[in-house]
Symmetry: C2
């Protein structure tokens, strides 16, 4: 099963401020820019390419806190698995949207694969780091907002070794966000 | 006077490993790629646009340790000012190449400007952070090597506030390095 990352960071590599807030992401860039056909910076195309989503607990709690309407729900009917070793139940407003998983990630990937899944969207800083260190991530798309935060929660953390990236591509959108895409070579 | 940054980092934003080494930078990317007219990823054009270089002590010591021949010297006859509050003299093999400065950076910029300088290259992590926090950097070019290091010396550090970037451009070179350029909007 292919596992990929599609995530936004600041230019200095943070996915959130220290308190978890992402106000800077919504305020960054030139909101008046004519984005042409790139209004969502590729998110819809990406989501349509995955058939399941694996996210961490904090990521679920962030989404739960938004209390999205059906119209606002960005993941369609994509199956969502939330990783948590402490929570047995989803957030109350996500009970029909997500399922919980506790345990080994390689086993989870094998399980999803055996159930016919072909491409998982891996989301959340800790989850991405765990998958990277298990050499399970095949592709990474980072959309960097044009702001330097100075501190926060980093996308990448310690790795067990250098991780080599290949097949780089990059685009600067009209709103000054820069999106890069790499395949991961272990 | 314009002050700009032209620096290489890993994809996770480090300019060196914790011990200062940059072996990963020389080994990163596809060295067999046909770089066409971009073999130096814009460095010669950049260097020809600056008329002085301000770097930190560690940056000087890194260059001194390379013990470059005249042919290898990458900065032409560009005036180089090394910042240090502790060292009064340059590294022994750089005595005819650099001058030392200790003191206020805003004063230094005014001094260089009064001497006719128009564009300074600001180099070294600590130096770049100091100039950014003094709102003295106008433009940033980051060339990201296609490797995740997991830890090291970060290009960016704590800032006194969010720093907004504008006029983004990006290019992925054939060797899988990605170069981004921004103007800084204070």
């Amino acid at each position: 099963m292919q596992c990929s990352v599609y995530i936004a960071t600041s230019t200095d590599g943070y996915i959130a401020r220290k308190d978890g807030s992402i106000d800077w992401l919504h305020n960054a860039g030139n909101s008046q820019a004519d984005m042409g056909n790139n209004a969502d910076m590729g998110f819809a195309d990406y989501i349509s390419s995955v058939d399941c989503l694996i996210m961490g607990r904090k990521c679920m709690e962030m989404i739960a806190s938004m209390d999205l309407t059906a119209e606002q729900w960005p993941y369609g009917d994509t199956r969502i698995i939330v990783l948590s070793n402490t929570l047995k139940l989803p957030a109350s407003n996500l009970q029909d949207k997500v399922e919980m998983y506790s345990g080994d990630l390689t086993t989870l990937v094998a399980l999803l694969e055996s159930e016919g899944h072909q491409h998982a969207y891996i989301d959340g800083g800790t989850t991405i780091q765990s998958f990277l260190n298990l050499k399970l991530i095949n592709e990474i798309t980072i959309t960097r907002a044009p702001v330097i935060l100075g501190e926060g929660i980093a996308l990448f953390g310690k790795t067990s070794a250098d991780i080599k990236l290949v097949e780089a591509s990059a685009v600067a959108f009209a709103n000054d966000f820069v999106q890069v895409n790499y395949k991961v070579s272990y």
